[in-house]
């Protein structure tokens, strides 16, 4: 179990900007996520999973009262993640406990989940992703 090392900040912001890039997946993006609503979630990495049909980043988020909730973020296709170096912690990827801020499209069902658009690591690294319909 990953220990939560920081008090995490959870903010939700609305954003009307249109998204750039091509989007498709085994499911309709807009059937699951609000393409006009971005959320910003900060916490610590619980795990990164390279899986089909979508890889996932799980983040532990601590609220002001110290209660930890778990957020799940659908990520870009594995090829993009690999090219970004995210498949190995010792090659610039993530490891459990890393402090991160995620900017994501909000889940339309209100669950603690989203479609990851940007990833900011506490050490200053930033990643941006757009979905690819062919799994690249």
């Amino acid at each position: 179990m990953t220990r939560v090392r920081i008090g995490a900040l959870l903010t939700v912001s609305l954003c009307g900007a249109a998204l750039a890039g091509q989007a498709s997946a085994h499911h309709s993006i807009q059937a699951q996520f609000d393409i006009n609503k971005h959320i910003t979630v900060s916490g610590t990495v619980a795990r990164v999973e390279f899986i089909n049909p979508h890889s996932y980043l799980t983040v532990n988020v601590k609220d002001a009262d110290g209660k930890v909730t778990r957020w799940a973020f659908e990520m870009a296709a594995a090829g993009q993640l690999r090219r970004a170096g995210l498949s190995r912690a010792d090659r610039g990827g993530l490891k459990a406990g890393d402090e991160v801020t995620v900017i994501a499209l909000a889940a339309r069902d209100g669950s603690n989940s989203g479609l990851l658009q940007e990833l900011k690591v506490a050490d200053g690294r930033e990643f941006k992703f757009t979905p690819d319909p062919n799994g690249n």
Partner: protein, 314 residues
Amino acid sequence: MRLTASSRIIAAAAALCLLSAAVLAQESSQPRRTTNAPPKPSGPTPRTADGRPDLTGVWNALGDNLNGIPNQIANNGLAIESDRSTRDLHSGRQVATFPRNTTRPQNNEQAERAAALLRRVGSNRPVYKPEYWEMVKNFDHNANEEDPSNNCMPAGIPRAGIPSYIGQMPTYLIFIYPGQGGLIATQTMYRMIPTDGRTHTPLQEIDGSYTGEAIGHWEGDTLVVDSWGFNSNTWFDQIGGYFHSENMHVIERFRREGNTLTWTATVHDPDVLLEPWTTTPRVALLNARPNALLPESLPCSERDLSHIVTKEHH
């Protein structure tokens, strides 16, 4: 059930985003393609010691993504030939395509809906018995819940299309279909297909399976794979809710010319179809790297469908 292509305008709008999607898919390791038209063969056709065309190879050079899946987008029976035209490969009809806008990115909503509509323009559709028309329509409409191959289950035959790897031995072939995470979410499938002259087990004696009982033989330079003994848990085309019975009988034909492999599948299912249906030919391109290997496919763990809130789908 024959579905009409209702809107050329929509198709044209859709084509431009599908084109950019197809191009994007090539970026990792392949030269940038400007169309998804079937490739023309080049180079010699290798032959085995017994004189047959040798189909052995990694056949993922069109999609060539890290999961090793042959190009899915070019396989919808529509060839986007330029920024301005798309051709229905079945009817030969040309569909006007809006000029591709490369200066202003489309947002997800536009791109996704346009691509989904374009996939539905293809004219090559199976013809169901009238009593099943409503069922097919409902499956398609509710595909988020109903699509049997979108929740890490096998795509089945012939929906899996062209295998990403073929190994040809003197008396059998091995086909490998890596799990897909693009337009559908499937688990990896493999088939061992004998070409030793054996005949099918009587249908009623076979336990239904996702890949059926497959037996291969050669008709000239064409490999014919004859399969039956399926379960009824798969659909047989990429979209449309095209279910089948466990009496489905599938005839696939593979023909290698140079560095291309052309595939068709004919679905015989008199329980539900009025007539046999044949896919529009698909063409895979050999991975040109002489040391090409099929990478491990990712495990499949589907976590999204329970969060879907609308009927929208591909």
